[in-house]
């Protein structure tokens, strides 16, 4: 049916070029660049694993890796749990539930950067109401993102505020895909509410939950905007996640090699996560 062998490729060319150049090539640049350095003379040369060796010897890198892992260990399960709870609350028909669902999903309209600014103001001691409220109920004003102890948790809170509604939608899709007759059969078999949840809902939600967990983790490993805007990695490096380290290496220290080395590490982690994501999405549905 095709007049020329090349027609399909002509159609594909601009988009494919875009993807190859601006999505695929950067991966190669990251790996290649991490293996190079800039000499004092300003020329590019191959330095092997030198950049990685520097990273391995750098306590700041390990600290950052630790912070990133800790951050992810907390935020991903928390976001999953919150999103799941919201999905359960919003799932069963209820007059006016669409209204609540729209409200819960509203933070999706706010970009990551703006949400950081928003909370920067909201949690500020002089500009926002949060501390006033805390004083009023007796807990006392908190430094939030300005404190070494609270900064990371504050960021987790902000990211959860923004993301909960989004992931809730995915989990809602999973909930809707369970046929209501299966619940009815369970009711007739004698299951009460908790038993229906434990024996029907949870097992059948394993796949959607796994997907959300993995996809969310991939995004959270690259967490950047609120760190840049609110904490600059501090106070005292308590929020210095890997992506911020990579950014600073490039823009504050002009150490492109180091920046790309960290990027490569991140890419490696993301690649593993994406492969996992694929496995979950493509797994043969033996039990549906």
């Amino acid at each position: 049916m095709i007049s020329s062998r090349w027609t399909p490729f002509l159609f594909l060319a601009p988009a494919l070029a875009g993807l190859l150049i601006f999505r695929l090539t950067p991966i190669l640049v990251a790996v290649g660049g991490s293996l190079s350095g800039v000499s004092l003379m300003g020329e590019l040369r191959y330095v092997g694993l030198e950049n990685f060796e520097y990273l391995a010897d750098d306590p700041e890198f390990w600290e950052s890796l630790r912070t990133t892992l800790y951050f992810n260990l907390l935020i991903n399960p928390i976001q999953l749990a919150v999103a799941f709870a919201l999905a359960l609350l919003v799932f069963r028909p209820l007059p006016g539930v669409w209204f609540y669902r729209t409200l819960l999903v509203l933070p999706m309209a706010v970009s990551t950067g703006i949400s950081a600014v928003l909370f920067g103001l909201f949690l500020d001691g002089n500009l926002g109401p949060m501390n006033g409220f805390l004083e009023w109920i007796g807990i006392g004003a908190q430094p939030f993102h300005r404190s070494h102890d609270q900064a990371l948790y504050t960021l987790i809170g902000i990211a959860t505020w923004k993301g909960a509604g989004y992931w809730m939608l995915f989990l809602l899709a999973g909930l809707y895909s369970i046929p209501s007759t299966v619940y009815e059969a369970a009711t007739i078999d004698g299951a009460n509410g908790w038993q229906r949840f434990r024996y029907v809902t949870l097992p059948l939600m394993r796949k959607p939950m796994a997907f959300v967990l993995v996809a969310d983790t991939a995004i959270n490993f690259l967490f950047f905007a609120p760190v840049y805007i609110l904490t600059s990695g501090g106070p005292s490096g308590s929020t210095s996640v890997l992506m911020f380290q990579a950014y600073r290496a490039a823009f504050t220290f002009s150490d492109i090699g180091r920046s790309l080395a960290i990027s490569t590490v991140l890419l490696g982690i993301i690649a593993i996560i994406v492969v996992l994501e694929f496995r979950f999405m493509r797994s043969p549905e033996e039990a549906k």
């Binding site: 007739i188 004698g190 097992p203 059948l204 039990a287």
Partner: protein, 352 residues
């Protein structure tokens, strides 16, 4: 085995009234079929009996116990769903044993009962498979097995064969009938297929618009329908109806054709009626009423004719071969007692 009694059951969803006062008595071990067109409320009635919906008013009794306000768990009933509703993540064995596990039965007890039920239904070799790996018919059997294992007071079936292809449906129908004979349990079976109802039931309940039109043994309903609706619902091809007026003990159709009524009926002269006759009861009769053949459909053993009588189409089913062509004039009569008279206004049977 149980008796079940329903007393003036009503169900409304908001403004919409689905069941308008249903009363029914079911005896121990009976197989009762609830039939009717879509929207008649039969599924809703079944769900009310199961406890999946709450009645708006009225009472349901199982074994003389008022279960109207009780959840399904406490009614001791089992249900087979139209789409089987098997637990997709559990094996066939686990599916069938689920209710017993919830009850807290011992594991070997559960296995014993599951294997027994599997034996009855021929599922032994499938016990470790998942529903996704089974065919429609197999899933249906697993759903039935899940119900059997519970040994309930009442079996409820919600159009269990609707999702199967025609051939499988016929086969499963026989299996269900055999199952009832074997277990002797009380079964309530919802279907929109009147053949299923006729062949399976001890008693049929015909419903329409949220009310019971008639209930009784299948052949009773077939031979003596209480109204035109029941007459036209049971039987395939359906009963023929022609409007007319009573005159001199026969029905006079709009163009004057006189249709026979096989009983004394002169007292009804002048009344507007609906004349009914089943296709298989109409035969060629040289002294009968006249019509024009429009379509001839030889099926092999039978010949089905579409005859126009008094402007209305009449379906005739002859249990033999007959040489006749479209356009021929034909004279017909009715065999046996099988003419029915219904009031033209409300469709109710006119007793003769």
């Amino acid at each position: 085995m149980s008796s079940m009694k329903i007393d003036t059951l009503r169900k409304s969803f908001g403004e919409l009234e689905i069941l308008r006062g249903i009363s029914l008595d079911v005896r121990h071990g009976e197989f009762v079929a609830l039939v009717g067109p879509s929207g008649c409320g039969k599924s809703t009635l079944l769900r009310l009996i199961a406890g999946l919906e709450a009645a708006t008013s009225g009472h349901i009794f199982i074994d003389d116990r008022d279960v109207t306000r009780l959840p399904p768990k406490e009614r001791d009933i089992a249900m087979v769903f139209q789409n089987y509703a098997l637990y997709p993540h559990l094996t066939v064995r686990a599916n069938m044993g689920f209710s017993l596990k919830l009850r807290g039965d011992a594991k070997d007890q559960i296995n014993k009962k599951v294997e027994e039920a599997a034996g009855v239904l021929g599922l032994e070799h499938l016990l470790d498979r998942y529903p996704g790996q089974l065919s429609g018919g197999q899933r249906q059997r697993v759903a039935t097995g899940r119900a059997i294992v519970r040994d309930p007071k009442l079996f409820l079936f919600d159009e269990p064969l609707s999702n199967l292809d025609a051939k499988l449906r016929v086969q499963m129908r026989t299996e269900i009938k055999a199952l009832h004979q074997r277990l002797g349990s009380t079964m309530i079976y919802v279907t929109h297929d009147q053949i299923e109802a006729m062949t399976l039931a001890d008693r049929i309940v015909v419903m329409q618009g949220g009310r019971i039109e008639q209930e009784g043994a299948p052949l009773d309903l077939y031979d003596r329908p209480a109204n035109a609706f029941v007459g036209g619902f049971l039987g395939s091809p359906a009963m023929n109806f022609i409007k007319g007026t009573m005159s001199d003990g026969a029905v006079k159709a709009s163009d004057g054709t006189r249709l026979p009524v096989l009983s004394e009926a002169s007292a009804l002269d002048g009344r507007h009626v609906l004349w009914g006759a089943r296709p298989e009861s109409i035969v060629p009769d040289d002294n009968g009423f006249e019509g024009t053949v429009e379509v001839v459909e030889p099926t092999g053993p039978d010949t089905q004719l579409l005859v126009r009588v008094a402007g209305d189409p009449l379906v005739v089913l002859l249990r033999k071969r007959m040489k006749v062509n479209a356009g021929d004039k034909i004279r017909l009569g009715v065999v046996g007692e099988d003419t029915h008279l219904f009031d033209a206004k409300d469709g109710m049977r006119i007793a003769l």
